[in-house]
């Protein structure tokens, strides 16, 4: 076994083998070592059903699937080893309107990617799949290019390719520990010897949590016994010339596909059984678990209802085996915070579907420092420290049976909540808040009047929250409100090198005067958006940086990775020390003046400045800016004094009709103002030059991403961010909607919703620049239907920012 390598991949399942194969293929050749404690595929790969389809709820996740299919089809040509790929097509059915909407979302999003997908009627489905009873179906989507692959063959084919490119495969080799060397490399210790390497990739599947523990991480991944049933030979299938399409009937929580001369039925049953709660033993390998037929009988019966032939066909084999699941069912991929050069590639419950693609994208990510596509949806850093073992146990018990449940953009499931709460949580509850869950934080989405049900109907259309959100927006426009943004990620950057370092980290000029605030995007090396950050200068050597709450781990990891080693810059996470209440609306100054001992008049406290003032008895860091576009103040305060600050504001605002406002209203208002949202507008696919914050790019200094910006300045921007007013009646754009002109796709929305202050349906999106002129008419496809739309001048609300600056 080698003692030195560039990269060590831990785990010989489909994922690990693919990562190793792609790293070697793309140039690291024999500098890649794979370690597997048993045989290849012996963790979960051996029991995978092998379904490979384009469908993924996320736009970028879909692209990973697309890449997989491309790779699987080419693999045999390259390696000489068959991958067992069959193109069968696949159908996803719907038996209720909510599901039809979800399919509409998938349809529109897939069309943004140029995929061949079409709506099919129940009659057409019946013709494609003669064994199917289509009763009760409303319709479905059909992807002709989907198929299946033999999980073992495809892994062996990639392994062969990996070996051909130089990967050293060490089977029956167990990783015992992983240590960081003083020089910043990794020392992977195994029972067959030690390897020093630059990069470690944890593709250990069932054991990924154990491998993570070796480097001090707790990751949200657990094992659940998944079951599928192989039926005995069915003559009509054996005699047929063509293969049956894969069918997913998500409303019945089942899938069914052809396997040789018969069928495989798989299911996500109501009581998923967690397997080996306290960690999968190291000596487990490729062993079936006793199937629990009673536990899956409802799903089997559902299968027989949909496919009556299953009732007359014997079970040839019932396979139950452990597969990993995460809190939302999506994997854990990418750099592991806070470590350097340690990558996750685990938590997969659809590992075969993404094995090819994620190997390709992760290899690129490792080798280039940035992924080719924005993989935030599967990024391991989307989970905060609240996502510990106990959380996973409760959360995944709810997620597993709902893996096929309809996905709704406004749904926040109840399981394993609450976790993080603001000190004023009880006040919010008393005000009848409907809470959302953001990075573990309970944060009010809206406040229905007392006596009304505090529950939002999950929907792709305007929900029962609509009129209440409208009231909140108008209240903030006319009076004053408080938004709780305690969840903001807050980082204190200090030291003699702080200013210079921050100037390197952001394209914006770091404020030169104390108490000045600057919107300061951080960019990646290509000049694309990495993070949304606001910097407040406290003094020459201290800066208060605020970033998006859900991106906390991601953003702080990026800062940490770039932090100088010489001690000239100190970085302190103060997220959990400071709360934030946003006081906004035309009467906010009046309220703050009453609550504060300080002079907060327009002359004394100017827009886009920051002061330390007393709100009640609490000394607060107050920034005069906000995300809703009204006169307003972000009041950062010691978290333990939040209740006192809150009460001081509520008392001071009693005569001004002060009330609490939720996230839905804030999101509506930020759309009206054209304020960018992280991972909607601000993704790895866009630079600030394409947006309305191009003014934050200061070319007269050096910063990360500058060369990318220079390149784009030379070649011209490919896309331009616009605001569209959409003629939508009951369902607004959501993001990933195709923007069409004469049947040609000219762009895609990044987000959308209803602007209650302007009373218009709004979408933000990126368009080819020639179409970005205000007044240009086009269509936006929402849930599969075209809606006419027009580009308008951004921002549509208070274009001169008079309210905010008043």
């Amino acid at each position: 076994m080698k003692t030195n390598a560039r990269a060590v991949v831990i785990g010989g399942g489909a994922i690990g083998v693919s990562v190793a194969y792609h790293l070697a293929k793309y140039g690291w050749k024999d500098d890649v070592v794979l370690i597997e404690k048993h045989e290849l595929t012996s963790g979960s790969t051996w029991m995978a059903a092998g379904n490979v389809s384009f469908f993924h709820s996320n736009y970028y996740g879909t692209q990973v699937n697309m890449k997989s299919i491309e790779i699987f089809k080419e693999l045999e040509k390259e390696t000489g080893q068959p991958s067992g790929w069959h193109t069968t097509g696949s159908i996803r059915t719907a038996d209720n309107p909510g599901r039809m909407d979800e399919l509409g979302y998938a349809y529109s999003m897939n069309r943004c990617l140029g995929l061949d997908v079409s709506y099919v009627t129940p009659e057409e489905i019946g013709k494609m799949h003669p064994f199917m009873n289509t009763e009760g179906l409303l319709g479905g989507l059909y992807w002709p290019d989907d198929g299946d692959v033999d999980p073992n063959s495809v892994t062996q084919a990639m392994a062969k390719g990996a070996r051909q490119h130089g990967v050293e495969m060490n089977l029956h080799t167990l990783v015992k520990s992983i240590e960081e060397t003083p020089s910043g490399e990794w020392l992977v210790k195994t029972d067959k010897g030690d390897i020093t390497c630059e990069y470690v990739i944890n593709a250990a599947g069932l054991w990924a949590p154990e491998v993570s523990k070796m480097v001090g991480l707790e990751i949200p991944s657990i094992a659940i016994a998944h079951t599928h049933i192989l039926y005995e030979k069915i003559n009509a299938i054996a005699d047929a010339d063509t293969m049956l399409p894969l069918v997913r009937d998500p409303d019945k929580s089942i899938y069914l596909r052809q396997e040789m001369d018969s069928l495989i039925l798989g299911m996500y049953e109501a009581n998923g059984q967690q397997w080996k709660k306290h960690g999968v033993p190291w000596d487990y390998a490729q062993e079936e678990i006793n199937p629990d037929i009673d536990n899956i009988s409802d799903c089997i019966e559902a299968g027989m209802e949909r496919f009556p032939i299953l009732g007359d066909t014997g079970f040839k084999h019932v396979t139950a085996g452990p597969i990993t699941y995460t809190p939302n069912g999506d994997p854990l991929v990418g750099p592991a915070a806070p470590l350097k050069n340690f990558f996750q590639a685990c938590g997969y419950s659809f590992g075969i579907t993404q094995a090819g693609g994620i190997g390709h994208f992760l290899a690129g990510w490792i080798m280039n420092g940035e992924p080719e596509i924005d993989l935030w949806a599967v990024d391991s850093r989307r989970y905060g420290s609240h996502a510990n073992w106990a959380y996973n146990t409760e959360k995944i018990a709810d997620t597993y049976p709902r893996l096929y449940s309809t996905i709704y953009p406004n749904e926040f499931r109840d399981a394993a909540r609450p976790n993080r709460t603001s000190p004023i949580y009880e006040y919010q509850k008393q005000a009848n808040a409907v809470f959302g869950d953001y990075y573990g934080w309970e944060c009010p989405n809206y406040f229905p009047p007392k006596g009304e049900d505090s529950y939002e109907e999950p929907s792709w259309r305007r929900s029962n929250a609509f009129k209440h959100v409208a009231n909140e927006c108008k209240h903030m426009m006319n009076h004053v409100g408080i938004i709780d943004l305690t969840r903001f990620a807050k980082t204190k950057i200090s030291g003699s090198g702080a200013k210079a370092w921050l100037n390197k980290m952001t394209c914006q000029k770091v404020p030169e005067k104390d108490g000045r605030i600057a919107l300061s995007p951080m960019l990646d090396h290509n000049g694309n958006f990495k993070s949304d950050m606001t910097i407040t200068r406290v003094n020459e050597e201290e800066f208060f940086c605020v970033t998006a709450s859900v991106g906390k781990k991601h953003d702080q990891h990026w800062m940490l990775e770039n932090l100088p080693k010489d001690g000239s810059v100190a970085m302190e996470d103060i997220t959990y020390q400071m709360g934030c209440l946003v006081l906004a609306g035309p009467k906010s100054r009046e309220v703050l003046a009453k609550a504060s001992y300080n002079d907060v008049s327009g002359d004394a406290f100017k827009f886009s400045t920051s002061q330390e003032i007393y709100v009640g008895r609490t000394k607060c860091r107050v920034n005069r800016m906000n995300y809703v576009g009204e006169l307003g103040f972000e009041i950062f305060h010691p978290i333990q004094q939040q209740t006192a600050v809150y009460n001081a504001l509520m008392e001071a605002g009693a005569d001004s009709d002060i009330r609490m406002i939720g996230m839905h209203a804030m999101d509506s208002m930020r759309l009206e103002k054209g304020y960018l949202a992280w991972k909607s507008e601000m993704t790895l696919h866009h630079t600030p030059l394409e947006t309305n914050v191009s003014w934050t790019v200061k070319m007269d200094k050096e910063f990360i991403g500058k060369s990318g910006i220079e390149k784009q300045k030379e070649s011209g921007i490919p896309l331009k961010l616009v605001c569209l007013v959409v003629d939508a009646k009951d369902s607004d754009a959501w993001g990933y909607n195709p923007i069409m002109l004469d049947n040609e796709r000219i762009g895609m929305t990044s987000s959308g919703g209803y602007g209650h202050r302007v009373e218009k349906s709004i979408a933000l999106g990126y368009l080819k620049p020639e179409f970005a002129k205000p007044g240009t008419k086009m269509d936006v496809e929402i849930l599969g239907r075209l809606r006419s739309a027009e580009v308008v001048t951004m921002p549509i609300y208070d274009p001169k920012n008079e309210k905010m600056k008043s």
Binding site: Y284, A285, E287, I293, S297, G311, G314, F315, K316
Partner: protein
């Protein structure tokens, strides 16, 4: 026609067995299946009764968990079952035969008894002979073809060298089934659900008057087979690898 089928609940041969103590193993987590040879007996008995009428009674000597295996046989069409409960997975062939005999006598002796040719866990290959001897019935083991002919049973077995033996037995008799006798049917889900309602009579071994401690064979020690190692990977083109393999088989291993 009443047919008893002796069915054993055994660890899956693919299970990874962990030893516990000197002569035991951890059985709570591994997958158990019906002894595959016994399944040929179940299929043959069910087919015969489907044609001739009568009932198929499963008789199992095993731990309480054997019920899952019994239900599997019932899903194939067996009508009811008797489970003689023991505490250990391993009971020697003599005690097993005594337990089976006592259970069948209590239930009423059948016209025919099927066993597998042996069980894949203990591989003693004796139970059918001991059972037949104690009941005074004829027995043929490793039967791969069977027919009923005027109250007689005609059975076939391989005699080695490509020959087959054809034998005739009078009823009642004991048949040790093996591969080739039939293709055991795969249980259908509706049959699995029906099988749940079928009756399993549970009896403790002691209640049959069999002394579980009186076995003539006691397992003193179990050891795992050492993992094979030293595999040699052949390199080069497929042609080179085949040439090399043939050379090794001829010259080093001397098997060709």
């Amino acid at each position: 026609m009443k047919i008893c089928v002796c069915l054993k609940h055994v660890p899956d041969t693919a299970a990874s067995i962990k030893l516990a103590g000197d002569a035991g193993f951890e059985d709570s987590e591994i997958k158990f299946v019906s002894n595959p040879y016994d399944e040929y007996g179940v299929e043959e008995a069910v087919s015969l009764v489907e044609k001739e009428g009568g009932e198929v009674v499963i008789v199992t000597v095993g731990k309480a968990a054997a019920v899952t295996t019994i239900r599997g046989a019932m899903a194939m069409g067996a009508h009811r079952a008797i489970l003689v409960k023991i505490d250990d997975q391993f009971l020697d062939s003599s005690l097993t035969a005594q337990a089976l005999k006592a259970a069948m006598e209590q239930d009423g002796l059948p016209d025919m008894i099927f066993t597998g040719k042996g069980s894949v866990d203990t591989e003693s290959f004796q139970t059918q002979y001991r059972l037949a001897q104690s009941l005074g019935m004829p027995v043929v083991n490793e039967v791969n073809a069977l027919s009923l002919d005027n109250g007689k049973v005609v059975v076939e077995k391989e005699a080695g060298g490509g020959d087959k033996q054809v034998m005739e037995m009078s009823l009642p008799c004991v048949v040790g089934a093996t591969k080739g006798l039939n293709e055991p049917r795969y249980p259908k889900f509706p049959d699995i659900m029906k099988a749940k309602k079928k009756k399993i009579q549970e009896i403790d071994l002691a209640d049959l008057g069999v002394d579980g401690a009186a076995g003539s064979v006691v397992i003193e020690k179990l050891e795992t087979v050492p993992e094979r190692s030293g595999a040699k990977m052949l390199q080069g083109s497929v042609d080179d690898q085949v040439t090399e393999l043939v050379k090794i088989l001829k010259e080093d291993e001397k098997v060709l």
